[in-house]
């Protein structure tokens, strides 16, 4: 009798079942199972997100009133630098692709693992080492870095704070990102199950594919840029020192040649997540599959040519400004194509507003606001007015947090039952969602307005006339934090006590829902023979 129960337990826990051969921790940190690596990423990313969000709240607390409130200028500079570095390099870039991508890529294409499982584990280790290095820059001699996450030279070459360690940490993180990218490209080319043709590829996979190319092709430029910062600091080459004939603008070009495509690393996989969720909860196949898939590639390609729009007031030639401005408008087209396709998918559907869908729809709204305010920044004339103000800060939080972040939460709620075989409380999740949406908009909309009025970014102090809006923003940040805490508690409770669910609680048609929740260690007993598209919802649950 006891044995039977154990068998049942084994099936229910799937890949989560400890091997019993070594300490449980080793089972995880040395595992080459893509699902375990995905969860390792998920846990580490959530931890860093919590740290970054706490720092964000401190920044907002400082800004609740003019003058010094809790910290002075030096610490404030360190706070926003660290907040930026954590949120960009430790949360949003690896967020969806490394955590959800790792877990779902093999499952969705019908494979047993990624192409290079050991390389995959190495990527995670590099990620952790890079993160530890970047964060330990806080405590080393010289004080925490104060350059902003952009490490602009010449200042980053001269400041006595601990920039070198942070820069080296980011270098290691970049290496991890490249390895993940090349692993994913190879996996998608080589390991699709029989019948999983390119036109049956889930749109999440298409977005991972486009992202992986950006990771492989753009991240090396970041690597060399970081090497150049280090060589400036350690060897004093003076390559960007105007006094010695160098050109500081050159640094900005190199930095944004990577860092602008990087925003598509941040946003393409979230778009893929939304393209998975909307058809399932509207019970309609995605509208214009090929347009959504191709627009991912188009965004990745066009997005590589627009980096100059970060430098309109840095002293580029007028021709360059004009060209970059035009190209920036072109990227808006494929992004808008996606939005129209999502909306068209909803049209006439029988929509179910469960938590994943609420988060996904919020993505569409907030990302659209972020995208449209991006056009204000992308046209050279208006850019001059709002450059380096809180308007920019509001804008990129709408895209990265309202877009990327909310899609991350959507993915968390959508695939949670698949990962752990348990369901969270949907009502509590809905409350958390509502609180977050209210807090988010109070926070960042006020920041955009106050930016329009001329409040610059990256200052711990401001003129008295900005007080009112800043107070609203800070209160908004508390409401947002409350919502996020509620969401976290809800999911943590579900982890232990959530109701057990079957293989396919959402009645979705992609392959990961054909295996048990949580999936067994090798995913598929027998490789599936795929016979229908990813949004053929009438055939949900079959291969």
């Amino acid at each position: 009798m006891g044995k039977v129960i154990q068998m049942g337990e084994y099936f229910r826990r799937g890949f989560l079942e400890p091997s019993g051969k070594q300490p449980a921790l080793f089972d995880w940190i040395f595992s080459t199972d893509h699902k375990r690596i995905g969860l390792l990423y998920l846990y580490s990313i959530c931890t860093f997100f919590a740290v970054g969000a706490t720092i964000g709240l401190l920044i907002r607390l400082e800004l609740i009133a003019p003058g010094r409130t809790i910290v002075g200028p030096q610490i404030y500079n360190a706070l926003f630098t660290l907040h930026g570095v954590i949120m960009i390099f430790l949360f949003i870039i690896p967020g969806v692709p490394a955590a959800f991508g790792n877990f779902l890529l093999p499952l969705q294409i019908g494979a047993r693992d990624v192409a290079f499982p050991r390389l995959n584990l190495l990527s995670w280790w590099l990620y952790i080492f890079g993160a530890i290095m970047a964060l330990s820059a806080l405590f080393g001699g010289g004080g925490a870095p104060d350059t902003g996450w952009t490490f602009y030279l010449p200042f980053a070459g001269e400041t006595t704070t601990n920039v070198s360690l942070a820069v080296f940490g980011v270098f290691v993180l970049g290496f991890s990102s490249i390895l993940t990218g090349l692993n994913f490209i190879t996996t998608i080319h080589r390991m699709r199950a029989p019948g999983m043709t390119w036109s049956r590829l889930p749109l999440f996979i298409w977005s991972l594919y486009a992202t992986a190319w950006v990771q492989v092709l753009a991240t090396p430029i970041l690597a060399i840029t970081l090497v150049l910062i280090l060589s400036e600091r350690v060897l004093g080459l003076g390559l960007f020192d105007a006094a010695r004939g160098g050109d500081p603008l050159m640094y900005q070009h190199l930095f944004w040649i990577y860092s602008h495509p990087a925003v598509y690393i941040m946003v393409l996989p979230p778009m893929g997540v939304v393209s998975e969720i909307i058809p399932v909860f509207a019970r309609r196949p995605i509208f214009g599959y090929w347009f959504v898939a191709a627009s991912s590639i188009a965004i990745a390609a066009a997005g590589s040519l627009v980096w100059g729009h970060h430098m309109f007031v840095s002293g580029m030639s007028d021709t360059a400004v004009l060209v970059f401005s035009l190209l920036t408008f072109i990227v808006a087209i494929p992004s808008a194509v996606k939005v129209f396709n999502w909306v068209a998918t909803l049209y006439g559907g029988s929509i179910r507003l469960d938590a994943p869908m609420l988060f996904a729809l919020t993505f569409v709204l907030l990302f659209s606001i972020g995208g449209l305010t991006g056009l204000i920044l992308g046209s050279a004339a208006t850019n001059v007015h709002v450059h380096d103000t809180h308007f920019v800060v509001g804008h990129f939080h709408y895209t990265m947090f309202g877009g990327g972040g909310f899609a991350f939460f959507a993915a968390l709620h959508y695939w949670f039952p698949k990962f752990f075989g348990r369901m969270y409380n949907n009502r509590r999740a809905t409350w958390a969602w509502g609180t977050m949406v209210i807090g988010f908009n109070l926070l960042y909309f006020s920041m955009m307005v106050v930016g329009m009025h001329g409040m610059p970014r990256r200052y711990y102090d401001y003129l008295p006339q900005f007080t009112h809006l800043n107070q609203i923003a800070t209160i908004g940040s508390w409401i947002l934090a409350l919502g996020m805490a509620l969401m976290a508690v809800n999911l943590l409770i579900a982890l232990r006590r959530g109701q057990h669910v079957g293989a396919n609680p959402w009645e979705a048609a992609t392959l990961e829902w054909t295996v048990a929740s949580p999936p067994p260690p090798e995913n598929f007993e027998e490789l599936p023979q795929v016979s229908h598209g990813p949004y053929d919802l009438k055939r949900a649950g079959e291969a």
Binding site: D113, A115, F116, H189, V227, G238, L239, I257
Partner: protein
């Protein structure tokens, strides 16, 4: 198909290697872009600085790398024809060439330092703007390339051990092939560095 069989997908391993090489090329590409921009800004100074590099060392190293690229390719052919000893000999020669390249490079750098030609040196501080940039880029690019030569040498040594132990064989040559691809990359990058820095007139 069991997963361990999947993991030995030679085609996939090659694809992964090529992607990695792309990313390496782009990394050096960043340095070449910086070089191009500064060359356009200081053409005369760059030419003057370029003349101070030693053509003797440069050409010698080019010959070494080209030859070693050939020998590593031949090693691969030898393995495919099951000529184990020949393969090991050719690999050994390639690794030797990598070592000689580094010795040359070291001597060359040493001579430059003796002539007071390094960023921040007295001579370059007084030279016209641009020369110092040239030497800054020269040390950075050749230094980074030198690191790749070291990595390449280590990889090929490891491959050599695997060949000797019979783990890389005619029917499973992927490791050797990928090692050779990496070595060709080291060679290709040098083929760009050499004319850009040494033959600039």
């Amino acid at each position: 198909m069991n997963p361990s069989a999947q993991h030995q997908d030679a085609e996939g391993a090659r694809l992964g290697m090529w992607l990695f090489l792309f990313s390496e090329l782009l990394m050096f590409g960043g340095l070449f872009v910086v070089f191009a921009v500064y060359l356009q800004r200081y053409p005369a100074q760059f030419a003057d600085a370029g003349r101070q590099l030693s053509l003797f060392f440069g050409t010698g190293n080019t010959v070494l790398l080209l030859t070693s690229s050939l020998t590593v390719a031949l090693a691969f052919e030898a393995l495919r024809q099951n000529r184990q000893r020949l393969c090991q000999g050719l690999l050994g020669f390639t690794i030797l060439a990598a070592g000689l390249f580094l010795v040359n490079k070291g001597l060359e750098w040493h001579a430059k330092f003796q002539h007071d030609l390094y960023p921040g040196s007295q001579t370059l501080r007084q030279a016209p703007a641009g020369q110092e940039l040239f030497f800054g880029l020269y040390y950075l690019t050749t230094g980074l390339h030198g690191l790749h030569v070291i990595f390449g040498g280590v990889i090929l040594s490891w491959v050599l051990v695997q060949v000797r132990q019979g783990r890389i064989i005619a029917t499973r040559p992927t490791m050797l092939e990928n090692g050779a691809l990496y070595w060709h990359l080291v060679d290709v990058i040098w083929i760009f560095i050499f004319p850009l820095y040494y033959l600039l007139l």
